[in-house]
Symmetry: C2
């Protein structure tokens, strides 16, 4: 097969074309398929070596699939690009499609596909296949890293011609999303097309040609979403192509920790409560034992608003029964510090609940979220994604990926307990989906896939209030109502599976 | 100067090194400076053409600065990379530093620099300078677009050797963040270092060499933030380098518009109110005239919670005077539809307030936010950013960048009025900073720079309630208290300027 072959593999990986066969088969088909599908055709290039007929005849075999599986697997999952993924659900795991009735499914699939297409269009997906450089190009050029802001101009570094000598040299540059120019002060007879999409340099002086090339500029002419322009550099039959990324930098949102760097200027505690004020009050009292002045934000969707006599507690009353994640999302929306600590309303601060330790971890690493443990329970889990045509496959495994650099007691993972410190700005980017009204936890970490970098430090520990029978009749009644709402009914489970299928474009889990 | 010269220009643009001189000067200094600063040194490469002595002597001049300014300016702003940016504030505009007292400034600057460094570290900034390919490399390789998910494996497309014939060929591939392998089934005598960071191929059969190269794979071995690994391909003195991007795709968060695609399943109205229930009620009544069943989310930080008798209104009571952006952020945190429409509590829906039109625009374009007009006032403004060492310069200009494809009456811009429809998921990513308690508007669009793609369609119009003197004494009293809070005091203005300086890492505006 030719060097273009893998383009198809990529197209497939990027889900633009369904091929109902395995890896090896489309590797052989790819030569013949390439012409139709490559978005960046590589130069026709004489290949003295590789026959275009089935290479398997003269060439050594490829490793057998079982070998590939053993080489490229993680936790027993084969993480190698395929055009389709599968979940071998042995009892556990779900096929998310099953959350919908057979009758509704075709319509649901059509809506899901339409929404996914809109999402991809706005994210600039699927990405085009890789841009391949042929050997022995007479040009020097920038392979990677030329970036320009919309409407700005940048010099294109590293352009150079070093081909055979000739009486006259003609080099043409072509862009599609912007215009080209050169800083060199020369007449149109030498440089033609300044400020246009095609710039042509024509001279007999090779030295002059290179001087001009070294001063070529790219100007973005449209204000737009991030895009990659492929600029081509041509002389006779040689064509070099290189990417120019058009992107507006994301503006920072920094928090001032204040001159004394007090903990209260760095961290806000956030919690959500429902029909169990006694638990909430016990938790708040335990906070005050160790952190007298930290701001605590409480979101409550109980029937009656509470009166909390604490100047550092911000209390928000929500419509009755609005739900668990709606409340969590409300609470974090009000934070004005760099970090936010999530705790449940029935947790209990102890002398092992050292928020400072978690702050230290986020300050010194690149983590977005770091969890502790609840009574020693770390609840770490890894999420591994495989991409597929009809939705991705997600695999959940307990444990962690690797130790955290600089913190031997901490690890990198995908999901943790409900006791974690997070960069407020990062947490808000993912948020807690208010559609999840009742029991929900890992749903948040799945929504954070690709956005949140999560760690876990088990030696920072928070307590949990005992599930004691309430003697007070009123409280007992509340607990009863509470548990009615708390129960994870079958309907709620189906709803969550449907959400993974539609919202997250997943097809199954293990 | 050599083809390496511009590396420095990039380093400067990427703010890793302060050089107190203009563009032309460092272009000449760059040859001598290059060795110290290039992170991707280009191969030593004989350049028969360009003397390393001051090229200005033998070479044509560069265009004079005034010419560059005219060529590369937008709205009178010179958008060309410089190591420092300036704001010529003719009366208007601000130097944000001025918001702090001279006494505090040194300490503030130190904190700001520390927070900015943490931000950059987590965002992988500044990016390394461009990777430059020298001419006449004997290799085919992927210039751009090879991407792998953490812990996954991908084939590296397009690898090929086409150098001079030799009795024996030895090609070495080297990665730094992952490992290499090949699918070709061959013994260690030919392929050495499988599954390690360095893979060596040694054979006398050129055909076999290329077969192996075409089946080389890259495996990500660490679960981490997005990174770019630079893989090198070596044979004798030739080295090709190409990027492999390690990135976890961001998981989609799609909304199901439902089988009938009702507007109420697509759009939620959000508003914030404070001490003027009469205005709010008038606005709500006007909504119901045209949209009887759309969900309206109301965030209220008045003294007494209101009772609103409307089953489609969700009412949230906040701590008194919590503030304008805190309320806006609360309201959007509760939305469960794909789109959210922002309106102020004193607006008035009319027969020109066609939400469907705005939905149509967001469905058919790549915009994240589209504004209408308030009584015909469009309030469009463009924000242009220049990057600088000590913070960026921001330039605000009224009007728009360009017409919106497919919608001749709409335009692309950076900021609009307080009447806009937004993709809920995108809006939440930016959010309304709860630190902004009082008058604030353009602050939101500045926070959205690089995240939100904004448009404006003036022919979708909402009304505004008249500023009539309230006859009702109670209401008059409320209005009085309200306007006290509403007033944009000098202290509040200073606070906002300080926020731009610290939070957004800006230095000045025009």
């Amino acid at each position: 097969m030719t060097l273009c072959g893998y383009n198809l593999l990529w197209l497939l990986k990027m889900s633009t074309f369904v091929l109902g066969f395995g890896l090896v088969l489309f590797m052989f088909r790819s030569v013949y398929l390439h012409e139709e599908f490559s978005l960046h055709p590589v130069l026709p290039h004489p290949d003295p070596v590789l026959p275009r007929s089935n290479p398997a005849v003269q060439m050594p075999k490829l490793l057998p699939e079982e070998r590939l599986r053993s080489l490229f697997s993680y936790d027993g999952i084969w993480l190698f690009p395929k055009n389709q993924c599968h979940c071998e659900t042995k009892g556990q795991g779900y096929n998310f499609e099953g959350a919908y009735g057979q009758k509704d499914l075709p319509a649901v699939k059509a809506r899901r596909q339409a929404e996914f297409a809109h999402f991809q269009r706005r994210e600039g997906l699927p990405r085009p296949p890789p841009l391949l450089a042929p050997p022995n190009l007479p040009f020097g050029y920038p392979v990677h890293g030329v970036e320009v802001m919309p409407l700005h101009t940048v010099p294109i570094p590293g352009l150079q011609f070093d081909g055979p000598s000739a009486p006259n040299y003609k080099v043409t540059l072509t862009a599609s999303l912007g215009t080209l120019n050169t800083l060199a002060d020369l007449p149109d007879s030498v440089v033609w097309g300044r400020g246009q999409k095609q710039l042509t340099i024509s001279t007999s002086d090779r030295k002059l040609l290179n001087f001009i090339l070294q001063h070529v500029t790219y100007t973005s002419t449209v204000y737009q979403h991030p895009r990659v322009d492929v600029v081509s550099l041509t002389s006779k039959s040689s064509i070099a192509k290189f990417p120019v990324t058009i992107r507006h930098p994301v503006i920072p949102k920094l928090y001032d920790p204040g001159p004394e760097r007090k903990l209260r200027d760095l961290v806000t505690i956030a919690t959500k409560t429902f029909l169990r004020p006694h638990k909430l009050m016990t938790m708040l009292r335990s906070v005050r034992e160790y952190y007298p002045d930290l701001t605590v934000i409480v979101a409550d969707d109980s029937k009656e608003p509470l009166k909390i006599n604490d100047s550092h507690v911000e209390y928000y009353s929500m419509p009755f029964g609005k739900g668990w994640f709606a409340g969590r999302n409300l609470a974090i929306s009000q934070v004005t510090t760099k970090y936010v600590l999530w705790v449940d309303d029935d947790f209990l601060f102890t002398n092992k609940t050292k928020i400072e330790r978690l702050v230290d971890v986020l300050e010194k690493t690149e983590l977005d979220v770091v969890g502790g443990s609840v009574l020693g329970n770390v609840f770490q889990f890894k999420l591994l994604l495989e991409q597929g045509e009809n939705g991705d496959c997600i695999h959940r495994r307990s444990g962690s990926f690797q130790p955290l650099d600089g913190f031997p007691n901490c690890v990198v993972t995908s999901g943790v307990v409900n006791f974690f410190l997070a960069h407020t700005e990062r947490l808000l980017r993912v948020g807690f989906d208010p559609r999840l009204q009742r029991v929900a936890h890992s749903e948040f970490f799945i929504d954070g896939l690709g956005s949140l970098f999560v760690g876990s430090c088990p030696d920072v520990i928070i307590g949990h209030q005992a599930h004691s029978r309430e003697v007070d009749l009123e409280l007992a009644a509340l607990e009863k109502t509470y548990s009615k709402y708390r129960a994870n009914t079958n309907a709620q489970i189906q709803f969550k599976l449907a959400l993974h299928y539609f919202k997250n474009h997943l097809q199954c889990s293990t």
